[in-house]
Amino acid sequence: MGNQATVSIKEQNKSAASSLLKKNIRKFLNNKLAVLGLLVVVIMLVACVVGAIIGVDFSTPHLDQMKSAPSGTYLFGTDTIGRDLLSRVLIGGCYSIFIGVFCAVVSSVIGAALGAVAGYFGGKVDAVIVRISELFQAFPQLVLVMMLVAILNQRGLGNLLFIFVVTGWMTTFRMVRNEYMSLKNETYVKVCEAFGMSRSNVMFKQILPNVMSPIIVSTTTNVAYFILQEASLSFIGLGVQDSTPTWGNILNAAKSLQVVTESWWIWVFPGLAITLFVLAINFLGDGLRDVLDAKQQ
């Protein structure tokens, strides 16, 4: 009998959760911009991945076809040493999106973990972590990134990922820390503590689910942020090496005035790709915020 009762409560919880999910999905679908954003993100991602899977040729220079305008053979034209720009934009998309997603997820995880520890424990631990984050913020992010590029002294994809993660966790950290500081005084947390639940259980199993929504939203918008960051860094020539195309380092060619003047396709297409993707991610993030943020409901 008792067993049956628990089962039914569990069932109820489940059905409540699924109806909330349904409600949220409906709410999301009603936000046309967010749906459009999701659609654009998915389409661009699929295009880039398909391009990578069928193995488009992005690296062979055709020295007789340098800077040729868009045509039937080269839909987006060719770049300064005659490489097919469409393939470069597709493969560059794979790398750019990967950099954005990887850095956003990893820096969110680091920021959330540190924020949870600092916010929940408070005291000296909190003070130390906050000091470190303030130290990081004494530099403009881009300058910090540039300094790390100088220290690591090599322009590789791995180094870039490392630098972005190291310099990108502070915003999530501050947000999560504030949430924890206010949530740790809630009754349910006190109850769990009184029952003798371990600290890590309270922190990650009880409080974390309540902080998940803002973390998801900020991770989404951070994807856009890191893509833009990578683009700027590669544009000034401190990003990934040219042999690994990204949207940013394709645009690096546009540092030359001659390219800007004579070969619009070299900067217009990758520029459009970045703008479109970032725009779509921002719309998607706004839509998610509307759905997930309880404060706005």
């Binding site: 130290l135 004494a138 540039m146 800007v260 725009l279």
Partner: protein
């Protein structure tokens, strides 16, 4: 108030020391032999057998902490050392820092005026034409990479229309220094301003809306105070504090942005100096430029604190 300012000033010193420490030791980790930047290559190859003596002479065999102290002492007395090409870093900084301050300063002032202006108008005329255009601009401004805006600017205004030069800061042939400065600064300043305005006007609009919906505005209106006076005297003043703080918080982004924009317009500022120094492994220059930028940031956040204390007595009394 004086005590508050003094306290904040004193807090900046340990912060600066820690930052200089990190910059110095961080760049020591690169493993680039500093002797290359202290002695010219000819001297080095001529004295190949004397390198160890040279090291001793230059103090490169001393413990790192002693070298750090010497470096810091040099900086405090104005001796910034020499770049890879042998020019004194102090001279490079003296010519290039003003250019960057010009660029960032004008953008800050312009974007504050335009951003706050548009923000307030769109809050007063909510859902009007300006509000709508502003919203679209804000969304676009956050999605288009700033350097792409710069490239577009060059393409439209200097290549297609030919109104402004596409690069550099000073034209050696120019006769009027003022006109020359205006022509060269216009495009980079406009590019930086657009990015800042996109963010600022949203904040200005939202805080102004919050203020306009508050009770004391209703009270002011019901007293029969003219509408413009309600907006300016009662609304504007209270809405500006958070906006000013946001403005100051955006300064790092502005400085970061100006590094990129300088690169787009081949503008000879501190950002270009740093970018070039990194690509050519000129690490004495990298250290000094990073330190200058970090110090600027600290001064800015100091000013935010003071400004805040001036505007809001609770801040200085709370301390």
């Amino acid at each position: 108030m004086l005590k508050f300012i003094l306290k904040k000033l004193l807090l900046m010193i340990p912060m600066l020391i820690v930052i200089s420490f990190i910059v110095y030791f961080g760049l020591q980790l690169t493993g680039i032999d500093p002797i290359n930047s202290m002695v010219s290559p000819e001297v080095l190859s001529a004295n190949a057998d004397r390198i160890d003596e040279l090291r001793e002479e230059l103090g490169l065999n001393d413990p790192l902490i002693v070298q750090y102290g010497r470096w810091l002492g040099g900086i405090l007395t104005g001796d910034l050392g020499y770049g890879l090409d042998g020019t004194p870093i102090a001279r490079t900084i003296a010519t290039r820092l003003p250019y960057t301050l010009e660029l960032a300063g004008y953008s800050l002032i312009l974007s504050a005026i335009i951003g706050i202006g548009i923000g307030i108008i769109s809050a007063i005329r909510q859902n009007g034409v300006i509000d709508y255009v502003g919203r679209v601009l804000a969304v676009l401004g956050q999605a288009v990479p700033q350097f792409l805006v710069g490239i577009l600017m060059i393409w439209i205004f200097s290549i297609k229309l030919g109104w402004f030069p596409a690069s550099n800061r000073v034209d050696p042939m120019a006769t009027n220094a003022f006109v020359d400065a205006f022509l060269h600064l216009f495009l980079p300043v406009a590019t930086l301003t657009i990015g800042m305005v996109a963010v600022l006007m949203r904040y200005a609009r939202n805080t102004m809306l919050d203020v306009l919906n508050s009770d004391y505005i209703k009270t002011a209106r019901s007293k029969g105070i003219p509408e413009w006076k309600v907006y300016l005297k009662h609304g504007f003043r209270n809405a500006m504090k958070p906006v000013l703080v946001i403005l100051m918080f955006r300064i790092p982004t502005l400085i970061g942005g100006s590094v990129v924009i300088e690169s787009v317009f081949s503008y000879p500022g501190i950002g270009t100096t740093m970018t070039n120094a990194i690509t050519s492994n000129d690490y004495p220059v990298v250290m000094v430029t990073t330190l200058i930028i970090a110090a600027t940031m600290l001064v800015c956040s100091f000013m935010v604190d003071v400004l805040n204390a001036l505007l809001d007595p609770r801040v200085r009394l709370g301390e």
